[in-house]
């Protein structure tokens, strides 16, 4: 009887710690995605500013209440603005931010293409020397030899 109780107790403890571990994992993922507003290029995870510690506590409390990542992010964005997200949202407002680099890459490709084509066009336009030119070239070469 006692062993059974011990067994159940063990499961209870293990189950609890597994749950706590899962919560911590989610919390750490969130800490990394959120900006510390005091030292603005650090994430909450990296920061030990008093406000960062408070915000970490808020995040942890909300995870323990069973709120999803999205809900917690929305809570913070509603109060601090989108700046708190280290990774900007995929929204119409941010479209240039996300697609900008690709756009510039294509502009680069286009410019290179035009440049290279022009060069090859110049090559094709190469004409044979006229008689006058040939004569003057000959003169120069002869002078150099003598």
């Amino acid at each position: 009887m006692i062993t059974i109780i011990k067994f159940i107790f063990c499961f209870f403890i293990i189950g609890n710690s597994v749950l706590a571990d899962a919560n911590t994992k989610v919390a750490y993922e969130l800490y990394e995605e959120l900006r510390c507003l005091v030292c603005q290029n650090q994430s909450l995870l990296e920061s030990n500013a008093p406000l960062a510690l408070d915000l970490k506590k808020v995040v942890m409390d909300k995870i323990e209440l069973g709120q999803s990542k999205g809900e917690i992010k929305k809570f913070l964005v509603d109060r601090y603005g989108e700046f708190i997200l280290l990774k900007p949202k995929y929204s119409m407002q941010n479209i240039l931010l996300w697609l900008g680099p690709i756009l510039f890459l294509f502009i680069g490709f286009f410019v290179t293409f035009v440049f290279l084509r022009k060069q090859s066009m110049y090559k094709a336009e190469q004409l044979p020397l006229t008689k006058e030119e040939e004569n003057s070239l000959k003169k120069i070469l002869d002078n150099n030899v003598s």
């Binding site: 603005q40 406000l51 408070d54 506590k57 808020v58 109060r79 601090y80 603005g81 700046f83």
Partner: protein
């Protein structure tokens, strides 16, 4: 035609240079601090927050803002905050004409009371936010912060950092006067 185009191409670096100069000049002239965040709560209702009492002073609550006759200021301060001491005299001078509410942020009771006793009390009512959790609803990220509230209890402006003479004369008071002139 082709030559003209080439002529234009050679000016591209110069044009880009001047665009950059314009960007930098704008930042220089406007003197905007890029680390200062705009509040998301502008033109929104002041969020409901629950603050505790600072013994001997009236408690500030959302009710104060709902039945307002005119504009008011909400100032987040603390005894451990050095810039708060700098702005204190300006809060004192404004408190003659405007109702100022105080939120005492993550402070201990004795220190907060001592500051008010020593430097004077500019606040009509004070609410204490001991663990700083209530101020998160306001999006507070650096003390001192000051909010301007209109008659309807909406936030009109948020000032981060101490209110210096320039801020008071050029920013805070003009907004207050504007609110005073609305619907009179």
């Amino acid at each position: 035609m082709k030559n003209k185009l080439k002529y234009f191409y050679s000016y591209i670096p110069l044009i880009i240079f001047f665009i950059l100069v314009l960007f930098f000049a704008r930042q220089l002239i406007l003197k905007e601090d890029p680390s200062e965040l705009p509040s998301v709560l502008i033109d929104e209702k002041f969020p409901s927050i629950a603050l505790s009492e600072l013994p001997g002073y009236k408690v500030f609550s959302n009710k104060n803002l709902i039945n307002a006759n005119g504009p008011s200021l909400v100032n987040i301060w603390s005894s451990w905050c050095v810039p708060c001491k700098i702005e204190h005299e300006y809060l004192m001078s404004m408190s003659n004409n405007i109702i100022i509410y105080g939120i005492n942020y993550k402070d201990n009771k004795e220190d907060a009371l001592k500051v008010l006793e020593l430097n004077g009390n500019p606040f009509y009512a004070i609410g204490a936010d001991r663990d700083g959790m209530q101020s998160i609803n306001l999006g507070v990220y650096g003390v001192p912060e000051t909010f301007i509230i209109d008659r309807e209890g909406n936030i009109r402006y948020r000032h981060v950092g101490p209110i210096l003479e320039y801020d008071m004369e050029k920013i805070i008071l003009p907004i207050i006067n504007k609110i005073k002139q609305e619907r009179l």
